[in-house]
């Protein structure tokens, strides 16, 4: 509020002062112009004029100094527009200065010359002569009046008292005098006669001196108003009246008027002479005055021009300055700047255009910001979608570096890809066997060699086979013909191993069920038939034939039993009773199962390494069967080997959110053939002489029912190791293949 008021004050104060100064200056000039020609008026008002001039000059000078200071300060600071203003001020002042100075010097010359030309020695001489002529004409009259007075004095020689007064009165009227006075030798009035009794008559000092020296006195006396009089005084000759008792002579003073006409003429001459000599005397002061006046005019004009120059320069430069400031602000990214509208000229138009431009820029920026936000939102949405996808997505740029990789991609490949955006394919390949195989297989597609590709990639790690369903597509580039190379590629892949396994298992289960059904049914009649044949015909047959029959039926029964076993195993594999999840002490379970296989003669040595208190949430029956199968598999692998050894270990593997329990069963047998290693867990895949080929397939099925993993690998020295990992917290596989926690109750082993 206060600041606003101060700003307003500042905004209006300077022009107000300037206007005041200029008005005073103009006033001073008007006063000068009006009174300078008239000496009297100029003289009377010169203090006022000087004061007004001085104040105006001081105000203007102050204004100019303030402006100059500001301009210099702005110039040093390189403030926008300062240079332009300085140049404008210089130009304006220069433009004003030259004509003003020329006019000034010419005026000075003109005035001085004009004044000098008033005076002329001839004129002076003539005036002087005219004055002398007038004086002499008057003096002639005065001389005659003196002789008249002398003759009057002779008449008065012997008179005194009343007679004298009467005589004076008569003589005065006769002589046409204004006054006749007789003075005693002591200069007291003895008698007097005057036309009008104004002042008491007296004998002036001059007269006394003159009388004392020359015995006569005559003087021409101006009376004012073109009236003159002649005063004459003479001693009265002859003896003093008897008994006067006074020494010296008496004096007669007579005052005669000079004719009005003559007086007026003489006065006119005197006036002219006086005026002329006054002018001559005042010539130099007058010149000084006029010079001073002109100088003041010059000074005021200059100061006004300079003040005006500052004002005009500011007015002219202001819109350009604001344009400069606005442009700088825009350059710095401030689009909120709006310049005040200028006058209706080109500069105003420029400002208007500038404002329009800024507005459009601001709008464009706002739109771009909004679309940027939309883009960000889309990107975030995409990231969320990608993050929630169980399908792995990897996008590469044209430079062959990872641009986008979602969590699922990382999970499938077993490396953290999401945080490694920007890494090159080789760097990713170096981070593990799975990514290495994946990159190797998909490199041509990621390099964008094929615009579209679909296929499967088989990976192997930790003895397990992973099948990935892949689809890749070249991304559109930023333009140009070589779209594929310019834009990189995207590859989408799903881990379909489990799906394939499930399909295969389902198929096998179906086969098993049918086989069991188709084969098991005729087995019993075959066996019964064989046994009946044996019972009926063996006792009645000859020794030799009986032996054959016995052996044959025995073989039939034995083979039927073997076949039944096989079919049972099959149906076991195909059957899928309900999973009964409970908390199971895995260590205890392992020990119990292992105890059953404790070393007997000719049997492999079983060693145990079990972590105490290892509990998992699982179906105890299934786990037990799983352990049986694993150990039996190892035993079968060690068949016929003297130093067979089986090492069973159970331990927990802390895995963050999803800890697992790991059971390993290692043997020192011949190991697993490379050809079967990848298909080890499929039915009827075996490298052993014995076994149904279903044991490990069942193991795999059981493990997967618990959401665990199973793997096989050959040991470096000798033998193989099977590893089963079961989640410590139970999960079930639902329809989407998504693992979810289940409620767990303590498991009671069925009796």
């Amino acid at each position: 509020m206060r600041t606003a008021r101060r700003n307003r004050l500042r905004r209006y104060a300077t022009p107000a002062i300037a206007a005041g100064g200029v008005i005073m200056g103009i006033g001073a000039l008007i006063l000068l112009g009006r009174y300078a020609p008239s000496l009297a008026d100029f003289g009377r008002r010169h203090v006022l004029i000087l004061a007004v001039n001085a104040v105006a000059a001081v105000v203007l000078l102050g204004l100019i100094l303030v402006n100059l200071f500001r301009l210099v300060r702005d110039y040093r600071r390189r403030a926008p527009g300062a240079r332009l203003r300085a140049r404008l001020v210089g130009m304006f002042v220069g433009l004003t200065l030259a004509p003003l100075l020329i006019v000034y010097f010419f005026a000075l010359q003109f005035v001085n010359g004009g004044i000098d030309s008033w005076f002329d020695s001839d004129l002076e001489q003539e005036l002087s002569s005219a004055l002398r002529l007038s004086r002499e004409s008057l003096e002639v009259q005065a001389t005659s009046r003196l002789s008249q007075t002398s003759s009057l004095a002779t008449v008065l020689g012997s008179l005194d008292g009343e007679a004298l007064a009467r005589a004076l009165s008569v003589l005065r009227a006769d002589a046409g005098a204004d006054e006749l006075t007789v003075f005693t030798p002591e200069l007291r009035v003895a008698a007097s006669s005057a036309r009008n009794d104004a002042l008491p008559p007296s004998l002036s000092e001059d007269a006394q001196d003159e009388l004392a020296r020359t015995q006569r006195f005559v003087a021409l006396e101006p009376q004012g108003g073109a009236r003159y009089q002649v005063r004459a005084a003479v001693p009265i000759p002859g003896d003093l009246p008897a008994g006067a008792g006074e020494q010296g002579s008496r004096y007669l003073q007579a005052v005669f008027p000079i004719g009005y006409r003559q007086g007026r003429l003489a006065d006119a001459v005197q006036d002219t002479y006086t005026r002329y000599s006054e002018l001559r005397f005042l010539r130099e002061p007058l010149k000084d005055n006029l010079t001073l006046t002109l100088s003041l005019v010059l000074l005021l004009s200059l100061l006004s021009a300079a003040a005006g120059a500052f004002y005009l320069a500011r007015r002219l430069a202001a819109p350009i300055e604001s344009l400069a400031v606005g442009t700088e602000a825009v350059a710095k990214g401030d689009f909120d700047t709006r310049l005040p509208p200028g006058a209706a000229d080109e500069v105003g138009f420029l400002i208007q255009s500038f404002n329009g431009m800024i507005e459009r820029l601001a709008r464009a920026r706002e739109e771009s910001r909004i679309s940027q936000q939309q883009l960000e939102r889309e990107r975030a949405n995409l990231a969320t979608i990608l993050g929630r996808l169980s399908t792995g997505v990897i996008a590469t740029g044209a430079d062959g570096r990872i641009r986008i990789a979602n969590d699922a991609a990382g999970e499938i490949l077993g490396v953290d890809l999401a945080s490694r955006a920007g890494a090159s394919l080789d760097e990713i390949a170096a981070s593990g066997p799975l990514p290495a195989q994946f990159i190797e297989a998909s490199r041509p597609h990621l390099a964008g060699e094929h615009p579209e590709w679909r296929g499967q990639i088989a990976l192997r790690a930790d003895g397990a086979r992973r099948i990935l369903n892949c689809a890749s597509s070249a991304l559109p580039g930023d333009g140009g013909d070589d779209v594929a190379r310019a834009g990189g590629a995207i590859i989408v892949f799903d881990d379909v191993t489990e799906l394939l396994d499930a399909q295969r298992e389902a198929a096998w289960g179906e086969v098993a069920r049918r086989l069991a059904h188709e084969i098991k049914n005729p087995l019993t009649p075959i066996r019964l038939a064989a046994e009946r044949i044996r019972r009926r015909y063996l006792p009645s047959m000859a020794q030799e034939d009986g032996q054959v029959l016995d052996r044959s039926t025995h073989t039939i029964v034995q083979q039927v039993e073997a076949m039944r076993d096989m079919v049972n195993a099959f149906s076991e594999y195909a059957r899928a009773p309900a999973v009964n999840i409970a908390r199971v002490d895995l260590g205890q379970l392992v020990r119990e199962v292992a105890w059953l296989y404790r070393a007997a003669e000719g049997q492999p040595v079983v060693t145990l390494s079990v972590e105490e208190g290892l509990e998992v949430e699982a179906d105890a029956v299934r786990v037990r069967q799983l352990l049986h199968n694993l150990i039996r598999n190892a035993q079968e692998a060690l068949e016929g080997q003297a130093d067979g050894r089986i090492e069973i270990a159970a331990r927990s593997v802390p895995g963050g959110e999803r800890p697992v329990a790991e059971i390993t069963v290692a043997d020192n047998g011949p190991g697993i053939g490379e050809d079967v290693l990848t298909q080890l867990f499929e039915p009827y895949v075996t490298s052993k002489k014995k076994g149904t080929g279903l044991g490990l397939a069942i193991v795999k099925k059981l493990v997967e029912e618990h959401g665990g993993t199973v793997g096989a690998e050959n040991l470096a020295e000798r033998g193989a190791r099977l590893t089963v990992r079961l989640p410590v917290r139970a999960t079930v596989r639902d329809a989407l293949g998504e693992a979810r926690p289940v409620r767990v109750e303590p498991w009671r082993e069925r009796a």
């Binding site: 003087a219 021409l220 101006p222 000084d288």
Partner: protein
């Protein structure tokens, strides 16, 4: 006359000096009498002889003296005398501008003498003067620059060649004692 002028000029420094001043009561009126020395300098003399009349102002002030308060102005009087050179009559004219009385003198000395002799200037009616109070009379004589012609007045503004003025001369109205 030239000799006389230089005598005037050099006799004493130019200026105005009040030699004496007094008041007397006559017929119920207080009268002022004074002797004033007017001495012209070269510039004023030159101006005079070039036809420029010089006006001398005589200012008289009567104040009632008070103990604690500032003095009270009772009366003030101003008399203007004009001294001019009459080239026709070759005389100096002394004119009382207030009364119009004028006297011509053939010499400047006589004119200045006349100018400086105040014999009976009525000052104030005695009835207006309180017997119980003390009154101070102040007298000052000076050349009135305001009545000089303009250009000279401007000159007078800058230099003091045309500044001729006396000190204030103060005395007690009744006792005549100088204060």
């Amino acid at each position: 006359m030239g000799l006389l002028c230089s005598a005037v000029l050099h006799a004493q420094e130019a200026g105005v000096e009040i030699r004496s001043a007094s008041t007397r009561l006559d017929d119920g009126v207080w009268y002022l009498a004074a002797r004033i020395d007017y001495r012209l300098n070269r510039e004023t003399l030159e101006a005079l002889q070039n036809g420029i009349p010089l006006t001398f102002e005589l200012r008289v002030e009567l104040t009632r003296q008070r103990s604690w308060l500032p003095d009270e102005d009772v009366a003030s009087l101003r008399q203007d005398f004009e001294l001019s050179w009459q080239p026709l009559a070759r005389s100096y004219l002394v004119r009382n501008k207030n009364s119009g009385d004028q006297r011509a003198h053939t010499t400047l000395f006589a004119a200045l003498n006349d100018l400086g002799r105040i014999t009976a200037l009525p000052l104030i009616d005695a009835a207006l003067v309180d017997d119980a109070e003390n009154y101070e009379v102040s007298l000052r004589a000076a050349l009135d620059q305001q009545q000089l012609p303009g250009p000279l007045r401007m000159l007078a503004f800058w230099d003091d060649d045309f500044t001729l003025e006396s000190e204030w001369y103060r005395w007690d109205l009744r006792s005549g004692k100088r204060l």
